[in-house]
Amino acid sequence: MVRLKLTLKTCVLLTGLVFLLVLPLIASALEEQFYIGMFSRILIYALAAVSLDLILGYGGMVSFGHAAFFGTGAYVVGILAFHGVENSALLHWPLTLLGTENVLLSWPVAVLVSAVLAAVIGAISLRTSGVYFIMITLAFAQMMYFFFISLEKYGGDDGLSLLQRNSVGGIDLGDDTNFYYLCLALLIGFLFLCHRLVNSRFGMVIQGCKENERRMGALGFPTYRYKLLCFVIAGAGAGLSGALMANLAEFVSPSLMHWRISGEILVMVILGGMGTLFGPVFGAAGLLLLEEFLSIYTEHWMLFLGPAMILVVLFARRGLYGSFVEKREKNG
């Protein structure tokens, strides 16, 4: 049932969508192509933040290691491209794997690998909860960070440069505008998927687990399985955004899965409003634009960002979008 009421929510979302759709035109008109790349980055982080919100905001799982999946997705693209250019095999045994620069091969593999990694990390981490879960997800992300540092073949600490962006069909992704619209389309697609997901039976179970997992068990739900699958879906989403990030920067390095990236994605979700579908998108835009803005005035912008975060936590728990848009919706 679609009701297109002119509520605050629809106004805000429509304005946001229109803005994002025409942004490349504006940027070109102003001859500030730089904005297209900047907003591509925002869209990519938004995708990662939305995926984290699935487990954090809806599932109540406070993961401080989401960058592990983000970085892994990026590395898969990087490594496949590396072998694609070299025309060498990535693996000889048990089966021969060749590199590729094709989006339709490379990105699904990135998503798949990230999902498998999430399944392994999730299976172990979800045996615990609360503060243990926070520390364990952080530790596993750090493990992946060190793992990629130890891969000398793929640049170790220094990372790996891509010769060019991946290609698909006749679309030239090397063109920033094309790439931007692809990011936007994927974000919208993912948001739609999440919208279905959180309102489905599966989504109800996940939200029930957030509020009272014990009760869900008493009702007859094997909660672990549902939470694990949710964790895997979130990992896959982060993997996709990582694949995009590798293409945007044409470069991957272990710093993509540094704990600070995990922290920033977490802050995006909170800043925008966790447990809301669109909040993380606003959060990603808010945080990255704030960083850009502060860095104009001072190279020590983190000196202000840190305390700002503390203030958000202390006084604006529902986040930007959460407090201003969703709240009024509910009351109205």
Partner: protein, 249 residues
């Protein structure tokens, strides 16, 4: 005599030196209301936890409908027809009243790895949920967030959720906890109406409720069952009067 629906033998659970339940044995027959009473700290809630599978027992066995469920996970017991309510209300406060019942129904309507169709408009869940809300008298509160319900209504919802799983045995942990006189007698009436449809193990502090409802009563003191019998027998049992009511010499 027919095999009881629930048969617990020698259940024990210790927290350090404290023995919450100690060699506790208990039967619940089909269609019976079996009340468990005892002073604070007698191990009543622990016993419910062990029976429902939330707590792992140190020793003892539990049979339900002829099946050994001693090591079975809580959610599997729920699927066999064992439902429980909580002493401290644990409904989903952010869900609406109807959502709460619907999710209980969903738990017993196949798996929930269904990702696409909206659950809130699914007639397979919403229809039965409405029926149960009618039954417990919460139908007019269906769309209210559970957080906005009164305490008495939340207790009713708590019970409605347990009922929605279509159990053959209800484990009710103090269903009238914190209720006023009026709400409390509503609850007693409601439970009386359930008699014959479902077996109930009732843990309760309110003695009026217990003696009004129970077919049999077990008295728990320091984790041990010191007496089991009809309300009349329990009322006159000297050991019970001494240990529980603090009477005697």
């Amino acid at each position: 005599m027919a095999e009881p629906l629930l048969k617990a033998r020698g259940l024990s659970k210790a927290y350090g030196a404290l023995r919450a339940t100690d060699e506790l044995s208990l039967d619940v027959s089909h269609d019976e209301i079996h009340a468990v009473i005892g002073p604070n700290g007698a191990g009543k809630t622990t016993a419910v936890g062990q029976l429902s599978g939330e707590l792992e027992s140190d020793a003892g066995t539990i049979y339900f409908a002829g099946q050994d469920i001693t090591g079975l996970a809580m959610y599997k017991r729920a699927h066999l027809g064992l439902a429980r309510s909580y002493q401290i209300t644990s409904v989903f406060l952010q869900f609406t009243t109807e959502d709460n019942v619907a999710i209980a129904i969903q738990a017993h309507d196949g798996h929930s790895f269904r990702f696409w169709r909206a659950a809130r408009t699914d007639p397979k869940l919403r229809g039965p949920a409405r029926e149960i809300l009618e039954q417990v008298g919460l139908a007019d509160r269906a769309d209210v967030p559970a957080a906005n319900l009164s305490h008495g209504e939340q207790r009713q919802l708590e019970l409605a959720m347990a009922l929605a799983t279509r159990p053959s045995l209800l484990l009710l942990d103090e269903p009238t906890a914190g209720m006023g006189q009026e709400d409390s007698s509503h609850m007693v009436n409601f439970l009386r109406n359930l008699k014959g449809q479902v077996a109930i193990l009732l843990v309760e502090h309110d003695m009026d409720a217990v003696f009004a409802l129970a077919d049999r009563i077990t008295v728990l003191v320091y984790g041990k069952a010191i007496a089991t019998g009809t309300p009349e027998r329990i009322r006159s049992d000297p050991a019970v009067r001494q240990a529980y009511l603090g009477e005697g010499d």
